[in-house]
């Protein structure tokens, strides 16, 4: 039995080796014939559509951006996974899960154990936040590893003019579209000769761009996490939670030294709001840097090197998703613990 298993594994390994070698050889020739070019790196997300509607209250224009598409795709993926894969697997009554259900189970078990270890009896309240944030950010982060994300899209005149003012998109851009759907021509960032065509090809507005490379996504998530932390603090301690920030009790109970406690509370307010900044910029910086790294390595060393960077980004995406969720969980657990009671317990 063991021998047999080993034999099959060896055989599989032998075949895979040649397949990988063939892919490497093909990619060497492909990179030589069609040298890849660097897509235009831009900080704000690109608009895919015109003004769809205006917000009723403020009159601001709403336009669909490509990072919004990525967020919606991540939502759809998670919901689809939950409804069509994990739900039936749970209802099938199996004890041991395999495949993707097993992976999700392992991840959620890790998350639940971490929550229980830190938050104790509040674990059941805090766990959904931790799990939701981690799953959403994880799927959104890993999306940038898929070929085609960041590189397939439509040509936008304003975008091209923004990159190179001397290029007229109507007359100079003679690159062939990948395919055409109705009136829309879909292009891919790819081989281009001459600087004008290069500007055209780099000016492609991708359909999908990793959600966390847009600050709006990370700041929105950070504000949601921040508000949830405050709400859980109030649920656990009532209005006494705000004593952490405005410590009037210390001011009256201990005249003199109480002022120091009060000032510490003011600093707590500052540190509470700085959480939004640190949460959002950590995720944004990591994923945006990963995107730039993928672009640059892909153009500098088109063969094999990008595999290593993809592996690195795979790990970074997982770690950042876990860290975002874990920090939310830790701050929530801290918010449930009364600072005052702890002090009394010590003395």
């Amino acid at each position: 039995m063991a021998n047999n298993e080993q034999a099959t594994r060896k055989w599989k390994y032998g075949v895979n080796r040649w397949v990988i070698l063939a892919i490497i050889v093909v990619s060497v020739f492909a990179a030589g014939m069609y040298p890849p070019m660097r897509p235009h790196i831009q900080l704000p997300a690109e608009y895919l559509t015109g003004v769809l509607f205006q917000f009723p209250g403020t009159g601001e224009d709403f336009r669909l951006t490509n990072s919004m598409v990525a967020t919606l795709l991540a939502d759809v993926l998670i919901l689809g996974l939950a409804i069509f894969v994990i739900g039936p697997a749970l209802r099938s009554g199996k004890q041991v899960f395999s495949g993707i259900v097993g992976v999700v189970e392992a991840l959620l078990e890790l998350i639940y154990n971490l929550t229980e270890g830190t938050a104790g009896k509040w674990a059941k309240t805090i766990f959904p936040w931790f799990a939701t944030i981690t799953l959403l950010v994880l799927v959104a982060n890993w999306m940038e590893l898929i070929p085609g994300v960041d590189s397939i899209g439509i040509l936008d005149e304003h975008h091209i003019e923004h990159i190179d003012h001397s290029v007229n998109p109507h007359t100079d851009c003679a690159i062939n579209p990948l395919f055409t759907v109705g009136e829309t021509q879909v292009y891919s960032v790819g081989y281009a000769e001459g600087s004008q065509v290069a500007a055209c090809a780099a000016g492609i507005v991708p359909f999908v761009r990793a959600a966390a490379t847009d600050l709006n996504f990370t700041i929105a998530l950070a504000i949601i996490a921040f508000l949830a932390i405050q709400i859980i603090g109030v649920r656990a301690q009532g209005l006494g939670y705000f004593e952490k920030f405005l410590n009037f009790r210390a001011l009256f109970a201990k005249p003199g030294m109480g002022i120091i406690d009060f000032v510490v509370g003011i600093f707590e307010i500052v540190s509470e709001f700085s959480k939004i900044i640190s949460f959002s910029f950590r995720l944004f910086g990591n994923i945006f840097a990963g995107m730039v790294l993928l672009f640059v390595i892909g153009t500098l060393i088109p063969v094999a090197a990008q595999t290593g960077v993809l592996l690195l980004e795979f790990a970074v995406g997982l770690i950042q998703a876990l860290v975002f969720g874990m920090l939310t969980m830790i701050f929530m657990a801290q918010a449930t613990q009364s600072h005052h009671a702890e002090e009394e317990g010590h003395h």
Binding site: Q42, L114, S278, F281, R282, G285, F288, A289, I319
Partner: protein, 75 residues
């Protein structure tokens, strides 16, 4: 000086801050490995806390990176 050159120099200077984060990450890993060497049984708990500390420290380098990228791609 040309604006483009000043941009590149500015982005380079902004990344000096990564030096501190590098020192910090090294110190965290140093402490973690020493702790694991002394008490291998506590390796998993030490690892979790070490990674958490490293991530906090790394955030500083990421801020530098964000500032450098803002200089390069926004202004």
């Amino acid at each position: 000086m040309e604006a483009a050159a000043a941009k590149l120099i500015g982005a380079g200077i902004a990344m000096i801050g990564a030096m501190g984060a590098g020192l910090g990450v090294g110190m965290a890993a140093f402490g973690g490995v020493q702790g694991i060497a002394r008490n291998p049984d506590a390796a998993s708990a030490i690892q979790t806390n070490m990674i958490l500390g490293i991530v906090f420290t790394e955030a500083i380098a990421i801020y530098c990176l964000v500032v450098a990228m803002l200089i390069l791609f926004v202004f």
